[in-house]
């Protein structure tokens, strides 16, 4: 359940930002970007966020997670492809190994939707 720790890290980062704001706005939505080639399960993150924000400045904020698919680039075929997570990561056309990952490693706090108090 490392999503618990990830959520803690997420809350601390947002708290740092919020504390630095002269007028503490209400944060309505927290937008995350989570790649498919990470060890993060969005549903667990959502659950941990709802539990851990209770009674804090983020109580009632909504966590919005944007999933990013795993996309690799094959240099031999000179094209992008989508590996099959759990079974096939090499290029389906020429079988070259997964060299470059174009997307899927993201773990980012993208933006906050706020309401000025």
């Amino acid at each position: 359940m490392h999503e618990t720790d990830m959520t803690k890290a997420l809350i601390v980062t947002i708290q740092d930002w919020w504390d630095a704001q002269p007028e503490r706005p209400t944060i309505e939505k927290v937008h995350l970007v989570v790649g498919a080639f990470t060890c993060v399960e969005p549903a667990s993150l959502q659950f941990a966020f709802d539990v851990q924000t209770q009674g804090t400045f983020l109580d009632g904020s909504q966590l919005v997670i944007k999933d990013i698919p795993l996309v690799a680039h094959c240099h031999t075929c000179r094209r992008d492809y989508r590996p099959e997570y759990g079974s096939q990561y090499a290029c389906p056309t020429c079988n070259s190994p997964m060299e470059d990952i174009r997307s899927g490693r993201e773990l980012k706090i993208d933006r906050l939707e706020c309401v000025a108090v």
């Binding site: 980062t13 060890c39 190994p97």
Partner: protein, 231 residues
């Protein structure tokens, strides 16, 4: 009237951990130490490999930072080899993070002279998932996969095998008793990480250990050269 607005953060979710890892790495660099992060599932043989490594590299000054969820069993085993061992109980956390390792480093600095060390091995908590995302300040990531775990594990836990600089296929002495194809394990790892260095080892019989120890020492030399170039 209430005004709505967007605040762009664009920050890594693990920003704080990453910052801590960079801080730890700066300490290692300052002390001229190479740091290895040793990771695998529980029971893949990290501690036994480490014991063989300590015996095989008696010429070097090595310390171990040992992550364990609740016990000091592994730490006690390693202390018998006469090296400094800092035990970190991670509690309910299933991986070491950079803050825990920073705590270990402070203790190391307090009890020993870190500048006299050549190598620090961080033995992570047995887990193929989380440790892959939490850097601790290491220069090299070494993953272990024992032959009993099967050929499909790299495909199921790809992030760990993608991140590894070196992969040790362990417990090869058991291969005759198993329906396992070591070439298939290697092929599965290579489709995820074509640049990884792979060794087949048995800490029990000593098979393959020489190549691993040679590689480790070469990597340490590269590390030292890199530091001299930047200083």
């Amino acid at each position: 009237m209430h005004q709505t607005f967007d605040a762009a953060l664009e920050m890594n979710l693990l920003h704080a951990n990453q910052r801590g890892a960079d801080h730890n790495r700066a300490h290692f660099d300052e002390w001229g130490i190479t740091c290895v992060n040793l990771m695998s599932s529980p029971g893949a043989g990290k501690t036994q490999l480490l014991e063989s490594t300590l015996e095989g590299l008696k010429n070097l000054k090595i310390a171990v930072i040992e992550g364990d969820m609740t016990t000091e069993l592994d730490a006690d085993r390693l202390r018998q080899h006469g090296v400094p061992v800092i035990a970190i109980n991670t509690g309910r956390s299933c991986h070491l993070d950079s803050k825990m390792v920073a705590g270990g480093l402070h203790q190391l600095q307090h009890d020993y002279d870190p500048a006299s060390l050549d190598l620090v091995v961080v033995e992570n908590v047995g887990n193929l998932v989380c440790p892959a995302e939490f850097e601790v300040g290491e220069h090299i990531k070494v993953a272990l996969l024992s032959v009993t775990e099967g050929e499909d594990k790299p495909l199921k836990y790809p992030v760990m095998f993608r991140e590894a600089d070196c992969l040790l296929i362990t417990k090869t002495d058991l291969t005759p008793y198993l329906d396992v194809n070591l070439d298939q394990i290697e092929a599965n790892i290579r489709q995820i990480n074509p640049n990884v260095t792979i060794f087949r080892v048995s800490a029990k019989t000593g098979d393959g250990l020489e190549s691993w120890l040679e590689w480790l020492q070469q990597t340490m030399t590269h590390q030292a050269n890199r530091l001299q170039l930047t200083v």
